[in-house]
């Protein structure tokens, strides 16, 4: 009994960022309850500042852990604190910082709970990025999901509520499926800790039909989070329903954490699982890109784009090698800049205000009014396409070269198809990503459109986000060295 307590106490020492998040969560919600809201439409700059501070301090905690922590299991193999977990914590913190800055510079107002829930979601994500136990995965995923549901529906108008409701229903189904799969896995292996060597060994020995069914079902919740086929359908509705800073956060942080869990899970799976992932990746890329072609709404377009981008990250996982994982990490890290910069600029440049839908036609001719911002947005999009001079190119090059290596080792024809299809899709994606830059620069401005006033902060923030896109293309080795050191 005492030993157990000692262990928990020791583990708590490595749990400081999470403890800080809990404290901040409670403090912020209490503050909101105690102090009266001054304005009708909600809390503004000050709460943004507080939340920013919370995340900034969180970043310091993560940095401190990075400096001092040696990899190790916490709380009886429930959690695993290693380099990868810290890398993803850093990514999540960074995206949370950017999201809150985005909301701040665009002068959004929220009721106080918004900020606490955002902190709660980050807490869930932190747990998820450390989870090595199926139960822990499920629990943290639920924390993340429930926070997401609330944030999606937060504005409370009709569109928002509808999107939130769809999200809840769809999310519950997938988490039900996941729970089902997990219970099957537990039944087969008699352990919830999937890093346990027995876990993989037993899965190899049972009938493939059984193990595959259980695994695919158990993966459902994760596939749902990364919006991979066949769990991608919710994406556009939610992106449209939620407010842009929230969407920006959704497009990176939950995805990243779920990818990490998938990565951990795959590292113990039998090799013959590769084709499943290849097919999922292939179909995800294709559906994402081809559906995006017809979009007339910028946020829905970004939703499909984020589906396709998930497919590209999966290409890195398909390789089933440490190199493949590293390239996936690289892809995710750089994707953060491209996509979040795009969201900031879409939000700032669109003349349609803060409605749910942002028609692409609302960008017509704005490139002449706001040349710098328009160019920045174009660069961000080019990075998402993966054209050279942007880090998106390096990322795509890396994942596809890891795939090529995997193909040469296994000579699996499916990989070749994935390779060819992936490249083809990159070309297709050019067509829809350039829609908005085309509208910005070549379409004539709508007559009734008001001149866009771009907040200086938004411009600054997007400049800050676009800079690494170019810089990391030139100095790709910085990030690669960091990642390969994990």
């Amino acid at each position: 009994m005492l030993e157990q307590l000692d262990h928990i106490m020791a583990s708590l020492a490595s749990f400081t960022p999470e403890v800080w998040l809990i404290v901040a969560f409670v403090a912020l919600i209490s503050w909101d309850l105690i102090t009266p809201e001054v304005q009708e439409e909600g809390r503004g700059g000050f709460f943004h500042f507080l939340t920013f501070l919370v995340f900034a301090v969180l970043g310091l905690f993560v940095y401190h852990q990075w400096q001092t922590q040696s990899p190790g299991a916490l709380f009886h193999q429930m959690l695993m604190l290693d380099g990868k977990a810290l890398f993803f914590k850093a990514l999540i913190t960074l995206s949370a910082l950017i999201a809150i800055l985005h909301s701040w510079v665009m002068k959004r107002r929220w009721s106080g709970e918004f900020f606490s829930i955002l902190i709660g979601m980050v807490f869930g994500l932190f747990l998820l990025s450390m989870a090595t136990n199926l139960l822990m995965v499920y629990l943290s995923l639920e924390v993340v999901s429930i926070s997401s549901y609330i944030l999606t529906a937060f504005r409370g108008d009709r569109k928002s509520s509808e999107g939130g409701m769809k999200y809840v229903l769809f999310g519950s189904v997938s988490s039900g499926l996941m729970l089902y799969g997990m219970s099957l896995l537990y039944g087969l292996t008699t352990t919830l800790d999937f890093t346990n060597p027995a876990f993989g060994r037993i899965l190899l020995s049972v009938d493939p039909l059984v193990s595959a069914s259980a695994l695919i079902l158990a993966m459902s919740g994760l596939l749902f989070k990364i919006s991979a086929v066949p769990f991608q359908i919710w994406n556009p509705d939610v992106y449209e329903a939620a407010d842009t800073p929230v969407v920006s956060f959704f497009s990176v942080a939950p995805k990243a954490a779920a990818f990490l869990v998938l990565m951990r899970l795959f590292s113990v799976l039998p090799l013959n699982f590769q084709p499943v992932l290849a097919v999922i990746s292939l179909v995800t890329i294709t559906i994402g890109n081809f559906s995006a072609l017809w979009q007339t709404d910028a946020k829905r377009l970004m939703a499909y784009s984020s589906i396709a981008q998930s497919g590209f990250v999966m290409v890195g996982l398909v390789a089933f090698s440490s190199l493949g994982n590293q390239t996936a990490l690289f892809y995710l890290a750089t994707y953060l800049f491209g996509t979040m910069a795009s969201f900031v600029l879409i939000d700032a440049l669109s003349s349609s205000g803060r409605k749910n839908s942002v028609p692409i036609s609302s960008f017509n001719g704005i490139g002449k009014q706001q040349p710098l911002a328009a160019v920045l947005l174009t660069i961000a999009f080019l990075s998402l396409v993966g054209l050279p001079l942007t880090v998106g190119f390096s990322a795509k090059l890396l994942v596809f070269s890891s795939l090529w290596e995997a193909y040469q080792q296994t000579s699996l024809n499916l990989f070749l198809i994935l390779f060819a299809f992936g490249l083809l899709n990159t070309a297709v994606s050019l067509a829809f990503y350039l829609k908005i830059p085309f509208a910005l620069f070549f379409r004539k401005a709508n007559d009734e459109a008001l001149p866009v006033s771009l907040p200086r902060g938004a411009l600054f923030l997007s400049l800050l986000l676009v800079l690494p896109i170019i810089l990391l293309f030139i100095k790709t080795d910085w990030l690669i060295n960091w990642i390969s050191g994990i």
Binding site: M165, L177, I216, L217, P230, D237, P275, T286, F290, W294
Partner: protein, 617 residues
Amino acid sequence: MNPELLLWIILLLPFAGFLLLILSGRSANTWSGWLGLGFSLVGLGFSFQTTQITTIEVTHTWISEALPFALRADDLTRKMLLLVLFIASLVQLFSLEYMREDKNRFRYFAFLQLFVGSMLGILLANNLLILYVFWELVGLSSYLLISFWYTKPEAVLAARKAFLVNRIGDVGLALGIFGVYNRLGTLDFSVLTSPEFISNPYWTVIGLLLFCGTLAKSAQFPLHVWLPDAMEGPTPVSALIHAATMVAAGVYLLARIFPILTPDALVVIALIGTITMVMGALYALTQTDIKKTMAYSTVSQLGLMVLAVGVGAPHAAMFHLFTHAFFKAGLFLSSGSVIHSLHHAGHGFDAQDVRLMGGLRKKLPVTFLAYTVCAAALSGLPLTSGFLSKDEILHEAFQATAHSWKLIFPIAATISAGLTAFYMAKQWRLVFFGNWRNEHIELESVHESSWLQKLPLVVLAVLSLPFLFSLNPLGEHVDLGVALGSTAVALTGIVLAIIRYKSVERLDQLTDVPLLTLDQLYQTVIVNPFLKFADFCTWIDRVIVDGIVNGSAKSQVILAHMLGWLDRYVVDGIPTGTAYVVGTIGKMTRRFQGGQVQSYIVVTMLGLAALLIWWTW
């Protein structure tokens, strides 16, 4: 100082001066001359330092191992460095006064620096490629300086002529260099000394091709036509470039490549030199322009040097190059002084026409003295430097050609020495003696200019005396026969000239019959047929080529229409079809997005089921 650094400084200093001046623009006008003079004097000082050291070599890998950037300063180079920098300094000193009123002085001095740098490059080059590079730069700076007064059409035409004629020679030089590289795989001068080249037709051709460079640069027949026209440039430029240094570069080149010149090539070279020498002297006889006389005289003297190389005495040629540089520069600067004085006395007449001069010795005493000494040197009278070098050449030539038909070379040289003495005495007489023949201005208004101008004259006149070259004023080893003979010939020329022009006191007595120059010949033989050919080409171009082009254009348009049809209905069909297919796929994938959450879930379930079935199949 580090010898390599020394060479680099000597070479780069003028280029630095050039950049400094040309970039400073008009604001440099006031100090440009002094700066140029200073740079040249510093260079001169450094060049004196090189004489303390034995042969210096600098080699940097440049194009390849076989074609390095190599500089070398041996005995000959060092002497030439001193010569060029010394005369350049004097000329710039002279120019300070001469160009005082020009608005573009900075450009003038900048170009002079460019010229000096390029010339030093030729001297310092240790392989033919480097030499060729600087050779071209020299041509460029010569072009720039001839056309310095570019508002004068004659100057522009003269510059263009000089440039084009030099191109012809340079093409030959380039071909020769290629030929050397082809056979030896290197262009290094040190390799050009081995004796295996003798009597090989290949090397005869190469030698003559390289000689083409000399033909143009040193104004040898038949490419001499540019030099008289080049006198359109400022007179100090003529003194420096077109008398003392650049035109001598051809002779220098011959001295450098002398070891690979075969006996056959040497005969051709001697022949060309002889023709040039005699022809130049004949032309000089009839000139009435003070500078044109000098120009033809230079042509003639260069012919003599080339002849000396041709009979196998390159050291005698180089010796004459040195002595000639001093007294010819002195003569040019004296002429410049005369022109400058007349120019200042009044306008409205040709200040270079000797028919409009006379009796100037009292008005321009220093100029007169300098001119007299230098002219005596050019005529080859004893107790002058010209005597030493000319006799050396004659002596060598008579020795080398004794008992063969080649004896005509030294005999022709002796005759042309007489002619030289004749035309120099004629000019001396017409400019400085007799009555003042100019009706536009009074003789009284003519006066000499400041010591800035007179100092270089005096220096050059002193250096035209033999003491710099030999302790014995009659030479170290006098060939009595030759010395007496040549002196006699020169004196005869002088006496004849004085008798001929003694009674000439009026203008109309001085109109000589102009000789047919090669310019007319070139006009009828080359230029006119060339223009006819150009007309013919125009006709071909207009009627035949344009016809073909128009015809093909028409057929292209027809073809384009056909292709356009094909493109629209067949080729475009493919992308349109592809786009349609892609779009349809998109619509299909989007159709799942009905908006109803129950259908979402159904689709997801079906997808999951499909995945499982595919996987476990």
